[in-house]
């Protein structure tokens, strides 16, 4: 059976949805992600939907479910890369998309996850993500 691959990136999981999903595939993704969050002790999930040309209420609900289930498992979720036409359509459709955090791209999504999971600190400037360490702050001018 086809599955959408789930990659591990540090303490986060990354999922890139690139196919027009039929319902079974979406449900399998939900199951796989929750299993992987536990198995890999992940604290964050990044779902890249930049290739999705359509999000209907079923997929919207799937994303909400994933975010809510992940939260129960102590993981934050960020959905990234929503296409403008998809966003406009979702607003018109009236899909509430509650509890879903979004970011414009993977880089910003990762920064958001790091901020939410509060383990490390990062700064984002000029499109460059830099990790800031305790030692750097002492005596330096930022």
């Amino acid at each position: 059976m086809e599955r959408i691959p789930i990659l591990k990136m540090g303490e986060f999981l990354l999922v890139t949805i690139q196919v027009d999903m039929h319902d079974r595939l979406a449900l399998t993704l939900q199951d796989d992600l929750t299993a992987q969050i536990v198995a890999r002790k992940a604290h964050g999930v990044l779902i890249d939907i930049s290739a999705l040309e359509m999000v209907d209420s079923f997929i919207g609900r799937m994303l909400s479910n994933i975010a809510n289930m992940a939260k129960l498992l102590d993981a934050e979720t960020v959905v990234v890369g929503m296409q403008p036409s998809v966003a406009i359509t979702l607003v018109e459709l009236g899909m509430p998309m509650r509890g879903i955090r979004t970011a414009l791209d993977i880089e910003k999504g990762m920064a958001a996850l790091h901020a939410f999971t509060g383990n490390r600190s990062f700064s984002l400037s000029d499109g460059v993500l830099t990790e800031t360490n305790e030692e750097d702050d002492a005596g330096s001018v930022l």
């Binding site: 027009d20 039929h22 359509m54 079923f58 036409s85 998809v86 359509t89 018109e92 009236g94």
Partner: protein, 136 residues
């Protein structure tokens, strides 16, 4: 309004929902709909196809290219011989979920289209038609 072409798809399983929305996407692209309008009609088609399957027990989707004096458009008609909808006004309200979970389908599809029609009687199945004109 003239009908320039017509094709029909069976909706028997959830894979058919994908088939229908890909067919709608192809037609919308061929007609020259802009990206937002394409996405709107494909999404509406997905909602209605799913309703046909889950509430209607399966049925058909007809995709027609239509023309009026000003422009062309796509008309989609979803029919099933399921239980029908006893209270259409209630079913069109957002947040309403029947036993079979129609949710946003009808109200959403209407908002995403230029024209919307529905006929349904308990015991007589359901027919929902939506239309989007190019450039509107």
């Amino acid at each position: 309004m003239q009908v320039a072409s017509s094709e029909t798809y069976e909706i028997r399983g959830s894979d058919d929902i994908v088939v229908v929305r890909q067919a709608v996407r192809q037609r919308a692209v061929a007609l020259g709909f802009n990206l937002v309008d394409q996405t709107k009609i494909v999404t509406a088609a997905s909602e209605l196809a799913r309703n046909t399957l889950q509430h209607g027990g399966g049925g058909k989707a007809a995709i027609e290219v239509v023309k009026n004096s000003v422009t062309s458009g796509l008309k989609l008609t979803f029919t099933d011989e399921g239980p029908g909808i006893p209270d259409i006004a209630l079913a069109m309200k957002d947040g309403y979920t029947s036993k079979t979970g129609m949710g946003l389908g009808l109200g959403g599809a209407k908002r995403l289209s230029n024209e919307f029609e529905i006929e349904s009687q308990p015991g007589q199945g359901t027919r929902v038609a939506i239309l989007r004109w190019k450039g509107l």
